[in-house]
Point group: C3
Chain length 109, copies 3
C-alpha cells in the first residue's frame, strides 16, 4: 500500500479527481496554499496498491502537466487607448509535486 | 514512531478527537472534502508510539464505524399530502480510511 | 528524499515560510486547527533531500521555538479602576511538532 500526496493547481484538481475516480481511485482533497506551486493549489491524498502507482502518476502527468497558456494582459484601459498595447503573454500553468509514501497499515472501516 | 492519517466524517470528528485526547493522544485537524468518504470529512493527523497504534485504531473503529441511520425523506410537501409518502430511509453514516505511516524522526519543540 | 510535516503556530508560519524560501525550500501550507498546538496552527509540507533535513529542522527550531511573551490581561475596565489590577502575564507561544517521513518516489511535473 502506498499513500500518494499530490499537490496540484486548483484549476487542474477537478479534472484529475474525475479521471482518478473513473479508474476507481478515490482522493481526499485538502485545502492548501502557496509553496511548491503558484497560489491556489490543492493537496490530494490517494491511497492505492503498490502496483497501481505508475498508473496514477501517469494520470497526474496527463492532467496536470506544465503547459503555457496565452493570456491578454495590458494596462487598465490600454485597449481603449490602443489595442496594440494589449499584448497576449504566455503564462505557465499546471505542474504538480507528488510524493509517494510507504504505508505500514491501511484500514478501511 | 508512527503518523496516523485518519479521514473521518465531519460528524464523527469531534467525538473521536475528544476520545483520543482523553487517552492522551493529540490530533491535528485538516480541512478536507470529498474523496474516500461522502462530502464533509475531516483529516486527522495523530503522532504516536508504535505500540499505541492498535489502541488508536480501536478508538477510531469505535467512534467512526460504518452504521446506518434512519432519515425521514420525502418529496417536498409530501407529508402535507399524505404522511405515508414520507418513508424513513436508511442512510449509511460513519466510516473511516486510516493510513499508518512510518516516521523517521519526530521532533517536538 | 524526505517529506517534512511541520505543525506550527499561525503566528510563526509566515516567518518560517520566508526563511525556508530564502534557503531554497518551498513549502505547502495546509489549513489546520487544534491538536498538537494551541488553536490556530498551520501544517506545512516540505519536500527535501535527506541531507537537508538537519538544516530545515534547525530553521524550524529557530523560528518556532517555544518562548514566553508578556501579555497585559485584566478584567474588563480594570485598568480604569486601578492600573495595578492589570497584571502582565506570561503566555507560552511558539512550539512545533515535526514529522520526517520517508519518501519512496518524488515527482515534479
Ligand atoms: Ni504497500
Ligand atoms: Ni517508530
Ligand atoms: Ni530519500
Amino acid at each position: 500500500m502506498k499513500l500518494v500526496i499530490a499537490i496540484v493547481q486548483d484549476t487542474d484538481a477537478p479534472g484529475l479527481t474525475k479521471a482518478l475516480l473513473e479508474r476507481g481511485f478515490r482522493s481526499t482533497k485538502l485545502a492548501s496554499t502557496g509553496g511548491f506551486l503558484r497560489e491556489g493549489n490543492t493537496t490530494l491524498l490517494i491511497g492505492l496498491e503498490d502496483e497501481k502507482v505508475p498508473e496514477v502518476l501517469e494520470l497526474i502527468k496527463e492532467k496536470c502537466r506544465t503547459r503555457t497558456r496565452l493570456v491578454s494582459r495590458g494596462l487598465p484601459f490600454a485597449e481603449a487607448l490602443d489595442p496594440f498595447l494589449v499584448q497576449p503573454v504566455e503564462v505557465q500553468v499546471g505542474g504538480a509535486v507528488v510524493f509517494v509514501l510507504p504505508v505500514e497499515h491501511f484500514v478501511k472501516l
